[in-house]
Each structure stands twice: as C-alpha cells, then as structure tokens.
C-alpha cells in the first residue's frame, strides 16, 4: 500500500515536496519550525481555566453541555469527566453516517446508560453519496474532511436547538495544541502539512459536488460552518484533554472500570475507535499524499513530548488489508476493482 519514503528522524512525517522537506540531517521543516516556536514560553491551559469556562456556562439551559461521543477513549472519558468530575448535566450526541462500528456503539450505549445521561443518536445516509463521489471521481479530497464539516455543522445545529452553550469534543493534545482549537475542528487546514489535502478537498467541494444537487446547501469550509453556527446560536467548542494533565494511560483504565469501555479489536490507528470508512480514507491519503492526518497528529505529539516516536510508529502500522477496503467500497455501492 505504501511507497517507501524518507521519514523524518525526529517525528514520523515522510518527505512530501514541496510542503514537507527533510534537511541533510534527516529532520523535517515542521520539526525545525517547532524548534523556533518552542523557545517562547506561554502558560498552557490549566484545569482551573476549564472549570472557569464550565462554571460560566453552567445551568444556562436544559443541558450544561453537549458531548460528541464517538465511542472512543477520548470522547468517552470526556463524557465521564463532564458528568462525574464536573457534576454537569450533559447531553450525549452521536452521529452515524452508516459506517459506525458495533464496538463503538456498544461503548456509547454502556457509557450513557451507566452515567444516566440523555442521549441523542443522529443516523443518516445523507453523506453516503458524497463519499461515493469522492471515491468514484478519483478526487484527492480527504474523505474525513467533508465528514468533519458535516458533523460539526450538525453538532452546532443540535446545540442550537437546545441552546447548549458548550460543545465538548474528545480532541486530544495532538489534535489541538497550537491549532485554532476553540473555533476550528481538530485539524488546522491552514497548516503546511494539510495544505495539499485542504486544497483538493476545497476543489472537490467547490466543483465536483455541484453535480449532486442534494448538497447545494452543504458548507464548503469549516469557516462557513462557524459563520452559520454564529447566526444560529453561539456554542463554544472545547475538549477537556487540552486542559487536563492526564493522558490515555490514565483515563483508559478509568473508563474500562467505570463505564465497561472496551478497546476495539480492529480500528486504525491501533487503539482508536474510528468508523470503518476511515480505512478507505487512510488508504487514499497514503496513496495520494504518503501520509494521513494521524501521522500529522502523532508528529505534533512527538514534538510536544506527549508521545514517543517508536510508539507512534507502532500505532500507525497498517493493520488492514485489501479485503477490508473491498468491503467498504462495496458498501458505498461501488465496484472495488474500479476504485482501488
């Protein structure tokens, strides 16, 4: 699946000219840029900041916050923290575009039942045609990007309906540190490592999507989602993981014990709880760019000192095969032999 590429000796980003370039020592431009930025000290967000934000918005509506639950360790622990640690009344919210796994749904059902919180599941096949179009048109758009635009728009819409002031995501430090976290989704599409991916996604949304009239009102960027959200109702997006000093090694045992949470047996990256369509998204990202957004996130965490390079390389080993990709392609209503 992967062409051999030179990989940065400090993080795990492969060389991908012109955006990612390794110097003579084998270090990428992102790591070198980070060396300059890290010299500036600033106060990292503390739990006391999170408590201030939560208290400021507490008891303003029927629900104090809405937690976006994927069934993964990060969002499940976020739900746990909101209910148990901060004594809030959260609404758990999950979307299913038809590719959520049984393991993820079982984790969500266990968590909401044990925590006794209200739960809203939004299941829709609305995005299926768009996903199929990305694949069949051989667009280099990253499947996860329009999906994140869709689910964030949906999350803001649901929060607006219940006038919920805080949307809680399970984004981790690698998905957020030094990004436009409070206003944007986990990925900063303006960052150099996302530049080519973002341009191709934009090209798809602006041009090829016109062929599918049902998406005429679909937002074309996260900025458009945020502008629309602001007109409906102002909700702030935060993740407790930006503020708390704990990592997965702390909260996985906690949710396993308290919420019967189980690690999915088969997901990419290893230890994650991503939808099955993610396998196809990863396959195409590797094919077109030589890396995925998981490589970007892991590299950020390595630079920030939250993850060891060896751990990242182990987590990002490919654990799926062509049969998996064929099954997902067929589920999109496409012929695997024409699209893989």
């Amino acid at each position: 699946m992967t062409e051999e590429r030179k990989i940065c000796k400090r993080c795990i980003m492969p060389e991908s000219k012109p955006d990612i370039i390794l110097n003579d020592d084998g270090i990428c431009n992102l790591c070198l840029e980070h060396d300059n930025i890290i010299k500036v000290q600033y106060q990292k967000p503390l739990e006391s900041d999170l408590i201030k934000i939560l208290n400021k918005n507490k008891s303003k509506a029927r629900y104090d916050c809405m937690v976006m639950c994927s069934g993964g360790k990060d969002s499940t622990s976020a739900l746990y923290y909101m209910k148990k640690r901060y004594k809030l009344n959260p609404l758990a919210f999950t979307f299913d575009h038809g590719f959520e796994t049984d393991e993820a749904m079982a984790n969500i059902n266990n968590a909401v039942e044990i925590l006794n919180v209200d739960f809203l599941l939004y299941k829709s096949s609305y995005m299926k045609e768009m996903f199929a179009k990305i694949v069949s048109s051989h667009s280099k758009a990253v499947i996860c990007h329009p999906c994140s635009i869709w689910y964030m728009d949906l999350a803001f819409d649901v929060a607006a309906r219940y006038e919920i002031p805080i949307i809680v995501a399970g984004w981790t430090k690698g998905q957020s540190t030094k990004q436009e976290i409070m206003s944007k989704c986990g990925c900063n599409i303006h960052a150099v490592e996302f530049k080519s991916m973002a341009e191709n996604t934009k090209e798809f949304l602006n041009n090829e999507l016109k062929e599918l009239p049902k998406y005429k009102d679909f937002p074309h960027s996260m900025e458009e989602v945020l502008t629309r959200a602001k007109k409906r109702f102002k909700s702030t997006v935060i993740s407790p993981h930006w503020f708390l000093p704990y990592g997965p090694e702390d909260y996985i045992p906690l949710i396993q014990k308290e919420l019967k949470w189980k690690m999915p047996l088969f997901s990419y990256p290893e230890g994650s709880t991503n939808c099955s369509l993610n396998f196809l998204s990863v396959y195409y990202s590797m094919k077109y760019y030589g890396y995925t957004h998981y490589h970007v996130e892991a590299s950020k965490m390595i630079r920030e000192g939250y993850l060891l390079r060896e751990e990242a390389l182990s987590q990002l080993k490919f654990n799926f095969n062509e049969k998996t990709l064929q099954e997902i392609t067929a589920k999109l209503g496409l012929e695997p032999e024409d699209n893989l």
Binding site: K56, K178, M182, E223, T227
Partner: protein, 76 residues
C-alpha cells in the same frame, strides 16, 4: 482604556496565538476587557477577522506601538 486582564503573546505567531487567546477570553466574564499584546503583524488582520466571523467577542480598539500590537477585546 482599562483592561481587566492582559495576555502577552509576543513571540508567539499566528495561528498558534489564536487558541490561547480564545481560551483566555472564554474564562473571562461578560463586560470584562482583555488587552492582548502580540508582535506578529499577521495578527492585525487575522485576529479581528476570527473574532468577528466566528465569535461573540468584540474588538474595541487596536494600537500599534513599534513592533507591538495591542488589541483591546471586550467579552459580551
């Protein structure tokens, strides 16, 4: 113009300064004013635009003093 709090993000360029600013603003109460000090000239356009398009925070005044940019932002 009296600010309730000051956030000094000199040496910290866009876009990395934006999330730190937004977290700070979210911790403040309605009516309070934050003085943000930055030295990345890109911030002069980028931060006011992000505040206007995507948040409820109001940029009341901006002052450029040599290489330092002071932005006074009100929490509504």
């Amino acid at each position: 113009m009296k600010a309730s709090e000051t956030l000094d993000l000199r040496g910290f360029p866009c876009p990395g300064n934006l999330p730190i600013l937004l977290i700070k603003l979210e911790t403040m109460s309605a009516g309070e004013m934050l003085e943000l000090i930055v030295d990345d000239v890109v911030a002069l356009d980028r931060i006011p635009m992000a505040l206007k398009e995507e948040t409820e925070f109001e940029l009341v005044r901006s002052v450029q003093n040599n290489s330092n940019i002071h932005l006074f932002i009100k929490v509504k």
